[in-house]
């Protein structure tokens, strides 16, 4: 019973704040809604029993990416955003595309109906660490190279031009 209450509250938070991200006119409001939505997704991860992913979502998304986007909104936003039209004129075809997507997405759960969790969630940190430093060590190192390259690229793009 408590599981249902938690799930539906998290789902309401996620969907309402996602609608806020997409539909609110002010980019600042959208960025704040994005932080709320990412925190709701972190709650879903916690309710699914994956503790490390929950912590990573909070650390990277809510306190990293959302704050970074807020900085850029403060730098690149303007007061006229609130009164400018934020939806382009192709919203009707986009709505039809999204209707097709939601129709097909909501047919997928029928194939997996009635599957419940067989066991209680267990801590996963030790197993994840073993996998990352064992079988998946090569992808782990590759992803660190990707992070290094993206950091270098970001510094290169964002630096002031030498006069």
């Amino acid at each position: 019973m408590i599981e249902q209450i938690v799930f539906y509250m998290l789902a309401a938070v996620i969907i309402l704040s996602a609608l806020g991200v997409v539909l609110l006119p002010g980019v600042m409001h959208s960025a704040l809604c994005l932080g709320l939505c990412l925190a709701g997704v972190a709650g879903v991860f916690a309710s699914l029993g994956s503790d490390f992913i929950f912590a990573a979502q909070i650390l990277v998304y809510v306190s990293g990416i959302a704050v970074l986007i807020l900085f850029v909104v403060l730098l690149a936003g303007s007061a006229s955003d609130l009164v400018t039209r934020q939806i382009n004129e192709q919203w009707l075809p986009s709505l039809l595309i999204c209707a097709a997507f939601i129709w097909s997405f909501l047919r997928i759960p029928a194939y997996f109906s009635g599957i419940t969790a067989k066991s209680d969630p267990a801590p996963t940190v030790r197993a994840l660490a073993g996998a990352l430093l064992g079988d998946y060590a090569v992808p782990f190192e590759l992803i660190s190279i990707v992070l290094l390259a993206s950091m270098t690229g970001a510094v290169l793009f964002a630096r002031r031009k030498a006069e």
Binding site: V60, Q86, F105, A131, G153, F157
Partner: protein, 101 residues
């Protein structure tokens, strides 16, 4: 809760994000909508891992890689946005036509 609930939630979240990608005029809004898409995929990874393969962790490993790549993507994307904004003084994508030959 069953697997179907989580799949439906992630489908709805993906569709909202897709609508944002297709219709926002602001480049920062488009980047935020892409984050919604990635999060919908992450919910699916973790839900399939929990319900269909309990005791294994490959789905959660994939989520770690997706989160890392999303961080890299948003950092490079925002740096590009700031570089373009310094030149054009606009955050709206229809003004971004400086690649025209």
């Amino acid at each position: 809760m069953t697997l179907s609930h989580y799949l439906a939630l992630s489908g709805v979240l993906f569709t909202i994000g897709l609508f944002g990608v297709l219709t926002r005029r602001n480049i920062i809004g488009i980047l935020m909508s892409i984050e919604l898409l990635l999060n919908a995929a992450n919910i699916n990874f973790v839900a399939f891992n929990r319900f269909l393969y309990p005791g294994q962790h490959l789905g959660q490993l994939s989520v770690i890689f997706v989160i890392t790549l999303a961080a890299a993507e948003v950092v490079v994307g925002l740096a590009l946005v700031m570089a373009i904004y310094k030149n054009l003084k606009s955050a709206y994508v229809e003004d971004y036509n400086i690649l025209k030959g």
